[in-house]
């Protein structure tokens, strides 16, 4: 009996060992050496690991976790660079953060789950995985935050309705031109997380919106029988032509993702550049793809390509794919077994570049990003400015402002170009630190202060309802014409015609010419001209519908006031301030008010048509609205902290929380002819060079004349005066060269004479004389 037990035990151990060995084998499938990509004719599996039959009435969306699982281990892939922000302890060199943008409140908070300097962790703002996915899922690859475990889901989330956002393998590896990043973003917006992959890959057509379903809906519930108009449950209709008789689908898989796939999330372009002038990276132009350098194995631990990465990540091959690793045959690299010159990387000649530059500058300093200008170049990035999502509405935004290049020392002490964003947010002072407020908290407290346009927009909208107008109602103020746009906001344009005297002049715009909404008329005539009377009556009725306030719209001209009383148009004597021209306004108890309040009008004048979103007056009002006992609120913008001082004035001061967030840039790499220094030393070493002395003005949503202003050298940790003097020294260089040339010539000549003379004596050709 005892022997039998031992035998069973041994058998169990053996089985355990075998299963462990099998598991290990499964996790690491060695490459067979073939350089081809296998044909991916595979059956689709849903999230319950069931094969999908496309002809079924309510097929589920495919799940990459189970569809790709037979060959690729999902848990291993999910540790890759694109998915491991939460799980990894090793975050490497700072990269572009996510930026939580809210235009209404003038908020742009750099966020990251990675521990990079200057960024906030999402949990610091109480941002749940659900909210994070809704905000940034548009440019996420799935996995990580988008796929939380049951115990990580917040109570207010709707994961059970939307499903989780699994890693979307096809987002990168689909070779089909039908792969749509826009479709992915739309599905995220609709909360259709589990359907996003299938919709974006065009394997099927997805309808319905999980966002409109009750929180109790579950994927098992299927279509909503009670509603076929609004709360339609998400569904997928697979393209059956893509399935074979075995219900297999051909996936056109690209082992190395196409550049288009990478650029969907990693595009960066100068904000003011035309598309036809945009240059591609010099590597791309040479036929090298992103994934040729940014490689990874099945673990998806992608090579980022910066120096020091191999040591940080313990990944020796990474040093092959830095600029220096590929292009320079450096001794250190050779010792580590690095093979330079991959993909035919040329060896740089670097004529006329003193070697100190190779030590003190990163390769990207001269070769990447925008060339230094007097002011930094504003760029748009996919993730910050929501690029690459196309639909009827425009998704891209100008805000937040990302700038480049700002040169800063990397951990190797080399000056490296960086991109920069100035954070802006409302916050509460807690000790030395500032805790950012969520935009919804600010909106709740600030109310209409944040929307100065809305009052004028509402009036213009009401005026546009005047019958038989045949023109667009606008208003003119301070030399600009404001009209209603499609989004219900205002558009501003310059006005070059004769400036009306009124501060706020209501007019009609037709074929780019303006005429007064209420033309001048003979106020003494009784009755009034019929057309005028109708226009006044229609206008007042329109305004009456616009604002539900205890004020009534009136027109005052001279000593007359025109109004609608009890549904009838009537004229009365006006005892208040007389008007020289017809003036539309609100009236209550003999008190008149402008149609648009002075505060709103000032805010409109300062922000509409400009990149700034807030005025100092607004900030002051909002800070007052936020104020609570024992708590001090501030606004961070334009590199400064804004607060209300004891005297009740808005004051600005510098604070670490207002410091910009920087991350090194690597692309676009420019060709040699466009590199920094191609014009000689004076590209950088001059009295006022853009490299050292570019103006770095803190940008932000606040319209202020008091932003932080710095010179580029302050980011480098270099003295400005020294660099100016050093720059000046280059004027003396020609003299130094001439001096050295003459000295060398003289010394050389004498030494040659001496050499010849000595040789003469040694050979006896010359006689020694006393």
């Amino acid at each position: 009996m005892k022997q039998k037990s031992i035998q069973i035990l041994i058998l169990l151990f053996l089985l355990l060992g075998l299963s462990h060995a099998f598991a290990q084998k499964k996790e690491k499938i060695p490459w067979d050496g073939s350089r081809t990509v296998p044909v991916h004719n595979i059956p689709l599996k849903d999230e319950f690991d069931e094969t999908i039959i496309p002809t079924e009435s309510f097929p589920l969306p495919y799940s990459s976790r189970y569809t790709c699982a037979p060959c690729h281990v999902y848990s291993q892939i999910s540790q890759g660079l694109h998915f491991n922000a939460l799980s990894s302890d090793n975050h490497g060199r700072p990269g572009e953060p996510w930026i939580w943008v809210d235009r209404d409140t003038g908020t742009a908070i750099p966020l990251s789950n990675r521990n990079w300097p200057g960024v906030f962790q999402p949990e610091e703002l109480g941002l749940t995985f659900w909210e994070f996915t809704l905000l940034f899922g548009r440019h996420m690859t799935g996995g990580g935050v988008g796929e939380p475990a049951e115990d990580e889901r917040s109570p207010d989330s709707r994961w059970s309705v939307s499903g989780t956002l699994e890693i979307n393998c096809l987002a990168c590896h689909n070779n089909s031109r039908k792969q749509s990043h826009s479709e992915w973003a739309f599905q995220i917006l609709r909360h259709n997380f589990r359907w996003a992959a299938v919709a974006s890959s065009a394997l099927g057509e997805v309808g319905g919106m999980a966002s409109r379903l009750p929180g109790t809906w579950d994927i098992y519930d299927g279509p909503n029988p009670d509603d076929s108009e609004y709360a339609i449950a998400p569904y997928v209709r697979y393209d059956q032509t893509q399935f074979n008789s075995k219900h297999e689908v051909f996936f056109d898989i690209n082992h190395r993702p196409d550049d288009e796939r990478c650029l969907a999330c990693h595009s960066v372009s100068p904000a003011s550049q035309s598309q036809f002038l945009a240059e591609s990276d010099v590597h791309t132009a040479a036929g090298i793809q992103c994934a040729d350098c940014h490689r990874n194995d099945i673990t998806h631990t992608m090579i980022r390509g910066y120096e020091g990465e191999s040591e940080q990540y313990g990944n020796p091959p990474a040093s092959d794919f830095t600029c220096r690793g590929c292009h320079l045959r450096e001794k250190k690299s050779q010792k580590q077994g690095v093979s330079s010159g991959r993909l035919g990387a040329p060896y740089p000649i670097h004529k006329k570049i003193p070697p100190i530059h190779i030590e003190k500058l990163s390769c990207t300093a001269c070769h990447s990003g925008s060339l230094p200008q007097k002011n930094l170049t504003r760029v748009k990035t996919s993730r910050a400015n929501r690029l690459g999502i196309y639909g009827i509405a425009r998704w891209d935004m100008d805000f937040p402002a990302v700038h480049e290049p700002v040169f800063q020392r990397d951990p190797n002490g080399r000056l490296t170009p960086n991109r920069l964003v100035w954070p802006c947010f409302w916050g509460c002072i807690e000790g030395e630190e500032i805790r950012p407020l969520r935009p919804d908290t600010v909106k709740k407290a600030a109310g209409q202060i944040l929307y100065p346009e809305s009052e004028a927009a509402e009036i213009l909208s009401a005026l546009s309802m005047i019958p038989n107008l045949e023109a667009t109602p606008v208003f003119v103020s301070s030399g600009r014409v404001y009209e209603l746009n499609f989004d219900g906001g205002l558009d501003a344009s310059e006005y070059s015609g004769e400036m009306p005297e009124a501060q706020l002049f209501w007019a009609l715009k037709k074929n780019n010419s303006l005429s007064p909404l209420i033309p001048d008329f003979d106020r003494e005539s009784d009755p009034l001209d019929r057309d005028i009377e109708y226009r006044i009556q229609d206008t007042l009725e329109a305004l009456n519908n616009a604002k539900k306030l205890p004020y009534e719209p009136v027109l005052i001209y001279g000593n007359k006031v025109y109004q609608i009383s009890g549904g009838y148009f009537e004229t009365k004597e006006w005892n208040g301030e007389q008007q020289d021209s017809p003036r539309l306004c609100w009236l209550k108890d003999n008190e008149i008010k402008n149609l648009v309040s002075e505060f709103n009008l000032n805010a409109i004048k300062e922000t509409v048509g400009y990149s700034e979103l807030l005025t100092e007056e607004q900030v002051k009002k909002i800070l007052t609205a936020l104020s609570e006992a024992n708590k001090e609120y501030v606004y961070i913008s334009n590199g400064k902290m804004w607060r209300i001082n004891r005297q009740g004035f808005l004051e600005a001061s510098e604070h670490p929380a207002a410091e910009p967030v920087l991350w090194p840039l690597a692309h676009q790499v420019r060709p040699v002819q466009q590199s920094l220094g191609i014009n000689g030393c004076s590209d950088c070493h001059s009295w006022n060079s853009n490299f050292f002395f570019a103006d770095v003005t803190a940008s932000g949503p606040l319209n202020t004349k008091n932003p932080v202003e710095r010179s580029a050298h302050s980011f480098m940790g270099l003295g400005g005066l020294y660099q100016k003097i050093f720059g000046l020294s280059f004027y003396a260089r020609p003299f130094l060269k001439a001096l050295l040339f003459i000295a060398a010539l003289f010394l050389g000549s004498i030494l040659i004479i001496m050499f010849v003379k000595t040789m003469g004596f040694l050979t006896g050709l010359l006689e020694k004389r006393r």
């Binding site: 004529k351 070697p355 000295a743 010394l747």
Partner: protein, 212 residues
């Protein structure tokens, strides 16, 4: 590599000169009529150090004057040799400080002065050569001092030449690195030859003075 070689050579030359001075003094004392006793090497070294720190600045200047017969030279010679010596001293200190004690190459203000004084050094070197070439080119006196003088001049030529070459957009990065190394080794040769030359000149002056 360069820092190791230069450190080793500096130590070697310093040790040689100190020991050579000791044996020379020992020999001189033995030959002197009163046959003064010379302490052992360590005692002599300590005594030498003490006297160095005890000597006032004025006395030290006097000693240098006595060593190199500065007062016997004309004002022009003083300016030229002084300029050469001081510029060379700065170039030596700044250059070898960054080579031996810093992980970085020379940069910032020290580099700027290095460049400016490098030009002055080349100028003074030419003038010195112009004035002294004849004196050190006598075919009958192929002395150690003469050789050191010409080695110093040759190093000076390499120093000026490599600096000049690195300023022109003619050479590749690799060639520039080679020129840079050549510049450093020329500087090392110049320094060692200058030290030995001054020592030899001092010994000669001492002899002359003793005879006088």
């Amino acid at each position: 590599m360069f820092s190791m070689i230069s450190s080793a050579l500096f130590i070697l030359v310093a040790a040689f000169l100190i020991y050579f001075s000791y044996t020379k003094q020992k020999k001189a004392n033995k030959e002197s009529p009163d046959k003064k006793q010379v302490p052992n090497f360590s005692g002599w070294l300590i005594k030498g150090f003490r006297s160095f720190f005890k000597t006032s600045l004025k006395d030290r200047i006097k000693k240098i004057d006595r060593k190199y017969l500065i007062s016997e030279r004309s004002i022009t010679e003083k300016i030229i040799w002084g300029g050469l010596l001081l510029s060379f001293l700065y170039l030596f200190l700044s250059g070898f400080f960054f080579s031996l004690f810093s992980l970085h190459r020379m940069f910032g203000i020290p580099l700027m002065f290095h460049i400016v004084l490098g030009g002055l050094f080349a100028l003074f070197l030419c003038v010195c050569l112009f004035l002294s070439a004849k004196k050190f080119s006598s075919p009958l006196s192929f002395s150690f001092e003469n050789i050191l003088f010409w080695v110093f001049m040759l190093s000076g030529l390499f120093l000026a030449g490599t600096s000049l070459c690195m300023m022109f957009p003619l050479f590749t990065y690799r060639t520039q690195l080679f020129l840079f190394e050549l510049h450093r080794y020329s500087a090392l040769t110049a320094t060692l030859s200058a030290v030995l030359f001054l020592y030899t000149a001092f010994s000669k002056n001492e002899k002359r003075k003793n005879r006088g």
